[in-house]
């Protein structure tokens, strides 16, 4: 500002310029204010943006008794196996399961989940539930998703899968350890997933 003024008066009459120079004894604070506000902006942004996002995760209690666990209908279960190289293997139910693979994109995993929801909706119709926060009665398609990351999966894959759960509003999902049977299943999907009754229970509860 001050510079502009001197330029203006400099362009004008020369005699006046000398006098104004004599008179101005105060310091121009404009650059100081500029600097001050720049720093304020910096500190404001860094303090509020520094807070990271979080994703809450609740794991099941380690010792749930068998009689406490509620049985789940097989036709509502969707199992996602998070494999190597950002691939997802999935199968429905337990008996005569067919393995398919997809990726983490919107057309991939999300479509699988939504398709399953549609299927469950067609078979079991929508079920009532209470909204967790507002306690409003609602209707929704209930599916149970089991997420089982393999040893080759990355942490990002798990977070992506959990993201997908919140996007598609899957109300019941759980992260479980992968079983030997399923690892073999990925290696050789043609052989099918042969759960016997015990392995089935073990795979479902472990």
């Amino acid at each position: 500002m001050a510079e502009m003024q001197t330029a203006e008066s400099g362009g004008g009459k020369k005699g006046k310029k000398v006098r104004s120079k004599k008179m101005s004894t105060r310091v121009d604070l404009t650059p100081m204010v500029d600097l001050g506000f720049l720093l304020i902006t910096f500190f404001m942004l860094t303090t509020t943006l520094a807070k990271p996002q979080i994703m809450a995760l609740v794991m099941p209690d380690k010792d749930i008794k068998e009689d406490q666990a509620e049985p789940v209908k097989e036709s509502k279960v969707l199992t996602l196996l998070l494999g190597a190289n950002d691939k997802v293997y999935w199968y429905e139910g337990i008996t005569d399961a067919k393995l398919d693979s997809t990726d983490y994109s919107a057309e991939g995993m999300r479509k699988v989940i939504l398709d399953k929801m549609e299927k469950v909706k067609a078979q079991w119709d929508l079920q009532d539930y209470e909204d967790f926060k507002t306690k409003e009665p609602r209707k929704g398609s209930f599916i149970n998703v089991i997420i089982k990351p393999t040893k080759e999966a990355r942490y990002k894959n798990l977070v992506d899968a959990l993201d997908e759960m919140s996007i598609t509003k899957v109300r019941y999902y759980v992260i479980l350890d992968i079983s030997k049977l399923e690892e073999d299943f990925i290696k050789n999907p043609a052989a099918g997933l042969k759960f016997n009754a015990e392995a089935q229970l073990e795979a479902a509860t472990k």
Partner: protein, 223 residues
């Protein structure tokens, strides 16, 4: 002509008041801003659509590096002091008072318990170069699991501090892992947490970037 001159006057605004306000605010933000603690390991968190912010309460952070090494960080000097007092006396680590204070001011650490004394003795530039193996996690035997011991006792220490009125809240459990961490390392940590009855914890994620987020619109099905 001489009449016009005084009328024009000086268009300069007095900046002193504005400057005062600016620097007052600057001082305020500088004092309230928390200094970013020194990170022993760089962790690049995966992105997610979650927009929940980390609560203000003290956090107990488990860092999992890209190579699966595990580090711990906890807030609160009082709690850390109480924790190291307890650990020192139980395992006879022979830490001096100075080392204990050093521990309570240090950031994240990732050394086995038997080398903690050496790590604390190292000065700051050396400490950055100190070979870190991460905190040992033995999922088979809970009594040998150092991570479980640290977390359990840190939470107890925080609880004692809460009863003394030195802190307001109990620890918020936070897991901060790199996006390329292999899952078995994460699994070890999660299993350890479940083993010591910490069933609820938070995963730190970063904001999803623009174009990807657009693709993640919430579909209407099922609702």
């Amino acid at each position: 002509m001489p009449k016009h001159k005084p009328k024009r006057g000086n268009p300069t605004i007095d900046m002193t008041a504005m400057c005062d306000v600016a620097f007052l605010l600057l001082t305020f933000f500088m004092l309230t801003a928390k200094a970013k603690p020194q990170e022993t390991v760089i962790v690049d968190t995966p992105s997610s659509i979650s927009e929940t912010k980390l609560p203000d309460a003290g956090t107990l952070t488990i860092l999992i590096a890209k190579d699966g090494k595990i580090f711990l960080d906890m807030a609160g000097q009082h709690t850390r002091k109480s924790l190291i007092d307890d650990v020192n006396s139980r395992f006879q680590m022979g830490l001096t008072e100075e080392e204990k204070i050093d521990f309570s001011n240090a950031g994240s650490f990732g050394v086995p318990r038997n080398r903690l004394k050496q790590w604390l003795d190292a000065d700051n530039p050396e400490r950055a170069k100190f070979p870190t193996d991460g905190i040992p996690v033995d999922t088979a035997d809970i009594n040998k699991n150092e991570l479980a011991d640290w977390i359990h006792n840190a939470r107890l220490a925080q609880f004692r501090m809460k009863q003394d009125g030195k802190v307001k809240d109990e620890y918020v459990m936070v897991v901060k892992a790199d996006k390329d961490t292999p899952y078995p390392a994460v699994q070890k940590v999660i299993n350890t947490l479940v083993d010591i009855n910490v069933n609820k914890f938070n995963l730190i994620t970063s904001m999803e970037s623009g174009p990807e987020k657009k693709g993640k619109e919430v579909p209407k099905t099922g609702e």
